[in-house]
């Protein structure tokens, strides 16, 4: 049972690491601000959730698990608002420069 739990925790950590890696590659490789945000928010949401869930399983304590859940919720909230602000700004910059919406200088 303990082995199974550890394996599941490790799997969750690996999934989280994969989403962070994918998000970082997207941040570097994608052409404009909106698609970069698209890549990055996936890392923020699912990547952090997986890592928090994996860490909670490894800790094996309800208190730690709840704290990790709180961390995830706060990070999610902050990331949502900042992604929203960056997206609005990039749209406005694109309108100002007369380019297509979404294809903005970053």
């Amino acid at each position: 049972m303990s082995l199974l739990l550890d394996a599941f925790a490790a799997l969750l950590l690996l999934i989280g690491a994969f989403f962070y890696l994918a998000g970082t590659v997207g941040l570097i490789r994608f052409p404009d601000a909106l698609s970069r945000l698209h890549a990055l928010t996936k890392a923020d949401n699912i990547g952090l959730l997986s890592i928090c869930a994996g860490s909670a399983l490894m800790a094996g304590e309800l208190r730690v698990a709840l704290l990790l859940l709180l961390i995830w919720l706060m990070a999610l909230f902050a990331a949502t608002v900042s992604a929203h602000l960056i997206a609005r700004r990039s749209l406005r910059d694109a309108e100002d420069s007369g380019a297509d919406a979404g294809k903005s200088p970053s």
Binding site: F77, A78, T80, V81, L85, R88
Partner: protein, 308 residues
């Protein structure tokens, strides 16, 4: 070991990038990333106190201060600020060699102090329980070496006064970025503001037994203040009211009063009479340092309730 090397090399590369960077903006971003990697390094070395202070003050608040300074420079000059690249003179080389030697000597002394007879550390560990404190960092800062900490708080105040004197009266007109008009800001502020205050006060209280303390708590309050200024909930005022002035000096004042009060009752100067005095001094320090940082960010002598 791999992580040690990775962090050390990363810090050197990031510091280099922050100094050399092609544009000023890039240098600022590299500086903030440097602070974050330094946070990781402190956490990795088992110093959560320093990691928290670096994350909150080094990367967070200092990053915000440099960023707003950059924004204002662009706004005022309406041009890209010129990047003052480090002068490649022979003097720079001499300074670099001297600095390297100094850091090396301090490192060597620290390493040899670990193996030798660390008298001060041993005495502190023996007497720490008498103070009621469980966190040796807070013990050093507030009880054992509190003259240093008092001077640090006084330096913050002196630096703020110097900055005010340099900025002058017209600095209340320093531009701030317009508050973004989005319905998400109100839920953000009403959620984060009380939460940040609770966490700051918790850090202050927990700092007596666990990692935390006045500096970390004040940086959190300053971050909240920066958020309130940027979202337009709090704006610059042309003059400081009595509350602002009191908040600026309360840290130095309470520290001095407690320290001098000890003389009255016949105890040594700056002796700490009990754990309540630690909390009192730290709370006052938290208010002063936090307020100083927010006022520097707002670039104004005072703060008003609502930005026009």
């Amino acid at each position: 070991m791999v992580i040690d090397v990775f962090l050390a090399l990363g810090l050197v590369v990031l510091a280099w990038q922050a100094l050399i960077g092609g544009s000023l903006f890039r240098g600022i971003v590299m500086f903030i990333v440097f602070g974050m990697v330094l946070t990781l390094a402190w956490a990795w070395l088992g110093s959560p106190d320093l990691a928290m202070a670096e994350a909150a003050i080094g990367a967070g608040v200092t990053g915000a201060l440099i960023m707003i300074a950059y924004w204002r420079l662009r706004r005022i000059n309406a041009v890209e600020p010129r990047d003052p690249s480090p002068a490649r003179s022979r003097l720079a080389l001499v300074i670099a060699v001297l600095a390297t030697g100094l850091v090396g000597a301090i490192g060597l002394a620290a390493v040899s102090a670990l193996t030798g007879d660390a008298t001060a550390a041993r005495v502190m560990n023996e007497t720490l329980p008498d103070t009621g404190l469980g966190n040796p960092i807070t013990g050093v800062l507030i009880v054992f070496r509190n003259l240093d900490t008092l001077l640090e708080v006084a330096v913050v105040l002196a630096a703020y006064i110097a900055a005010r004197a340099a900025l002058g009266r017209e600095s209340a007109d320093l531009p701030l970025p317009p508050a973004p008009d989005t319905p998400l800001l109100t839920p953000l502020v009403v959620t984060l503001a009380p939460l940040t205050m609770v966490v700051a006060i918790y850090l202050l209280k927990a700092g007596s037994q666990y990692p935390g303390g006045a500096f970390q708590a004040s940086a959190l309050l300053a971050a909240l203040g920066v958020l309130l200024v940027l979202t337009g909930r709090v704006g610059p005022a042309a003059a400081a009211n009595w509350l602002t002035r009191a908040g600026l000096v309360i840290g130095t004042l309470v520290f001095c009063l407690v320290g001098l009060g000890m003389l009255v009752i016949g105890a040594p100067l700056l002796a700490i009479p009990g754990i309540w005095a630690v909390y009192l001094i730290e709370a006052a320090m938290m208010i002063s340092i936090g307020l100083t940082l927010v006022l520097l960010f707002a670039g104004a002598p005072g703060l008003s309730g609502k930005r026009s």
